[in-house]
Amino acid sequence: MNVLQFIVQNRAQFFDLTGEHLWLVGWSTLLAMVVGIPLGILIAHRPRLSNPVLGSANIVQAIPGLALFGFLLPVPWLGARSDRMAILALTLYALLPIIRNTYTGIRGVDPAALEAGRGMGLTDLQLLFQVELPLAVSVILSGVRIAIVISVGLATIAAAIGAGGLGEFIFRGLAMVDNRVILAGAIPAAILALLADFGVGWLERRLRPR
């Protein structure tokens, strides 16, 4: 109740921070898809590259969030604006589930369908767009879904480097030792994560091949 009161009283700032949060998550997920899906396709077709690529993505995933922000701070163009830094860090975290699921999805396509397709004279691109991607799309989307849920949570840390988002409330609440303020950041962030999970999950089911 008190939390709701606080949000209503500070609604202008609340909407700003929610907007910033979505901005960070949206851009980072988009970038991670633009990089991760082609990479996943590549390593599915070049199995020798799969270990180094997935290994690197794993290592990035293992770096603690705050430390990663710290590493990026001295980078010239990035360090100039904290939201750029936050977006890059979130992108790096989102890569692993997207690359891995793209890889798994494409590797899971029935080899007989691929052989028949190749034997029929489909080009590599036709095979990719007509057969592999449509069959892998739901697995790829479930990777995107995991990435978004991770990002929504992780983006709260971005406030520590001044990139904004709902983490502002959390850090302020921690400083003020005021649970109301912490929850005013934490609960909406959790709700965002659930909504994103639900939304992409719906899309995933819609696009699942029969």
Binding site: D110, A112, A113, L114, E115, A116, G117, R118, G119, M120, G121, L122, T123, Q126, Q130, V131, P134, L135, P209, R210
Partner: protein, 258 residues
Amino acid sequence: MQPQIAAPAIEFRDVSYRVGTTQVLAGLNLRVARGETLVLLGRSGSGKTTTLKLVNRLVLPTAGEILVNGASNERTDVIRLRRGIGYVIQEVGLFPHFTVARNIGLVPKIEGWCADRTLSRVEELLQLVGLPAEIASRYPHQLSGGQRQRVGVARALAANPEILLMDEPFGALDPLTRDDLQREFLLLQQRLNKTVVFVTHDLREALRLGSRIALMEAGKLVTVLSPQEFVKSTDPWAAAYVRAFGDGVESAANRGAS
């Protein structure tokens, strides 16, 4: 029948294929005449599937060359080559996210056929392989094994190729369905007169369907015989095959010749 020397549909010239140190195929010389059904018979690992895949360049030879319609298949654009050769495999490999109609109509569609022409071709092919028209809107997982392989054959025939490569197409079917499909294959072949290369390890199937049987063993072509010659052959490998399949194979040879 055309004289075989005139223009073989497929010709293997001193073809060898090696993976690492394993000689999968050695010095293969073989001609497939236009309109015949050549069966490649042999046990697992004898090189028959490799031989088949050399024709549509799913496998490239380490030595020698393969001529398709008189021209080396390495000089033809590989996509064009494959679209002119139907390919049917045991696992069928239908696209699970496409309806039967889209599966059959895919190559015509990417070849730029208009929708109407593709549609009537799909209907024609379904009839040809003995499937009801309403199956066109179903998905592969809604079909029985026999229906699936019929769709596989229809798909291979879609763009009307002159050559058909079939890799144990009926091997995974139950005996009754296999018998149906073999009988239909013979009827189809009477009507269409395609050049067919057919891989099997089943002697009965080879005798029934083949106009000639090429027996392979350990990467080498042992002999090429007609079904009638095969059952009487004194060649040790051919005789071993006939013995392994026991009594009654001679009648299979006669049935296939009709």
